[in-house]
Symmetry: C2
Subunit: 333 residues, 2 copies
């Protein structure tokens, strides 16, 4: 008798994908053509108490903000503008009503910033507090950002610093850490974890730059880690990459606290920074980085082959081949 633990999340997803149309698998969200020139983009997240959020590290407001932000980020990663979200809740009968109201407060604070309404939902009884969000957005079919569209020679752009969210989580879990940091520096990391910003603001800037050459942008968000994003893009695009470790932007204050190789590890594997990782022609990439706010950078290039190599110009860290197995696995031992 095979259990889910035996085959892991990836194994289970592989089995379930046989039930879905092949053309809609493998991006941050599904795309459905609804009218000429209009595509509907749909994405779903399920969040479970004790697995994805916990009263120990996350207030209900922050759990709500993060849930909304994660879904809006998936839309941004597809190039889509949000239309609305639905919220399905499974709630124990003895949960405080104020907890649910505070969850919604956090969700709507994030959603209002991006003019996105909650358009529906369901509330049911469950022994386990569960939040299921489905977000949908709209995109011009020519402007869909797909993971599989990276081309040899493309520059790899990140829209902001990485590692801050993981640093904030570590500070929440282990308050004794970060002795060299000021309270303000600590709070900046914690806020990066509790109130991530989906990068929908990048889209109009991006479209201005690539206006006359549509369908040239590949990408996804870095919610599961920067390394994971680059590896996923390369795998489905059938390409490799070289990342220059000294170009990977992390908050400078991380260096007050961590060794350089640790800071890079936070940036590559920490996850939940909700930036965009975009692959596009070099000149457009340079223009984009210039126009985005602080932290955006070209971190490497798409190469032929299939390996993703992390290269350190200063040889502080030995060159290494990155692999998906170093990434986050939902169903661990």
């Amino acid at each position: 008798m095979t259990t889910i633990k035996d085959i892991g999340e990836q194994g289970l997803l592989a089995k379930l994908q046989s039930f879905c149309p092949a053309e809609i698998i493998g991006d941050d969200a599904a795309v459905l053509v609804t009218a000429p020139g209009k595509s509907l983009v749909v994405t779903t997240d399920v969040l479970v108490d004790g697995v994805h959020f916990s009263d120990a590290t996350t207030s209900p407001e922050d759990a709500g903000w993060r849930a909304a932000a994660a879904n809006l980020s998936d839309l941004a990663a597809m190039g889509a503008c949000p239309l609305g979200i639905t919220v399905g809740l499974g709630l124990p009968g003895d949960l405080k009503v104020s907890w649910v109201e505070r969850l919604y407060q956090g969700m709507t604070e994030c959603l209002q910033k991006y003019n996105t309404p909650i358009v529906g939902g369901d509330v049911v009884r469950s022994p386990t507090t569960t939040i299921s969000i489905t977000a949908f957005g709209q995109v011009d079919p020519q402007r869909i950002i797909r993971r599989a569209a990276a081309k040899v020679g493309d520059a790899i752009v990140v829209t902001g610093v990485h590692g801050a969210s993981h640093a904030g989580l570590q500070l929440l879990l282990h308050p004794q850490l970060g002795q060299n940091l000021t309270t303000e520096q600590k709070n900046t990391f914690i806020k990066a974890h509790q109130r991530p910003q989906p990068r929908l603001d990048v889209l109009p800037i991006l479209w201005d730059i690539v206006n006359h050459t549509p369908s040239t942008v590949a990408g996804m968000d870095s919610s599961d880690g920067l390394a994971d994003a680059v590896l996923q893009i390369c795998r489905v695009s059938g390409v490799g990459a070289v990342l220059e470790s000294h170009q990977i932007p992390f908050p400078t204050t991380l260096e007050h606290w961590l060794k350089p190789e640790q800071a890079i590890e936070y940036a590559l594997y920490g996850g939940e920074d909700f930036e965009l990782v975009l692959c596009l022609p070099q000149e457009q990439a340079k223009t984009l980085v210039k126009q985005l706010s602080q932290g955006a950078a070209i971190i490497g290039n798409i190469t032929s082959g299939s390996k993703v190599l992390l290269h350190d110009e200063q040889q502080k860290i030995p060159d290494q081949v990155l692999s998906l197995s170093q990434g986050f696995q939902h169903f661990g031992q």
Copy 2:
């Protein structure tokens, strides 16, 4: 400290609705305008192990079918044609992989019948098996079926018999029941419970009939019971109704087993028959009932006032005023 049990599902929903735009509350699904002449219809259901399905009464295939059918029925209730669904799963690590595959098998069997793809989803670890489905459909804005559109003088049409699903559930829970029924009769009830048919087939017939007078149809589905549907429609339309109990169609074999007043109770309050309850002008209602398959009937009329009266022409049952509090409450004592 107020808990969810204290205020019940309706109390909690009332609080949460303050976070949603007012115009999209109160139907089977939310409606969003996406392009001229096109509206997107969205509906979400969360199903929890032990609350909405259980291995004792429901195979994983049937749980999957029922989950898909319930969401397609919500689209049908809005007049919308399905575009796709997303499936979010919360699963314990020790759940059998075959259980999940069988769930998907049942879901896709139902979906394929209505040409609806699974377009995405999420799989996460959870102590409680949870299925969260969001379904999307499209509708011409002039053809949206809303609960609030019932008008005095409208006929109330049901698209099929009621009570069969509840009878099937009772037979599954208490196999000693229904001694007067043949095995085939029992299986027909059980199948009505396990494999309900969303009435998307009604829509093209309905639009043919009301073609030249759009926006004249009010309605919803009877998933929470026929009485609940009529009461909800009347409440939000600001009207009353008279239902003729001898016109309410229930399976004739129910009478081999139950007293007439029990059979009516099953039909009114049993729920999960997933028929449509439609309010439309008398002549159109008559044509619709004629064109639909066996079981469709005009069961009463919309009246002024606010009371929903159940009237028995033969006076076998005394006249009674129906109320929502007799309906199903998710968070009970």
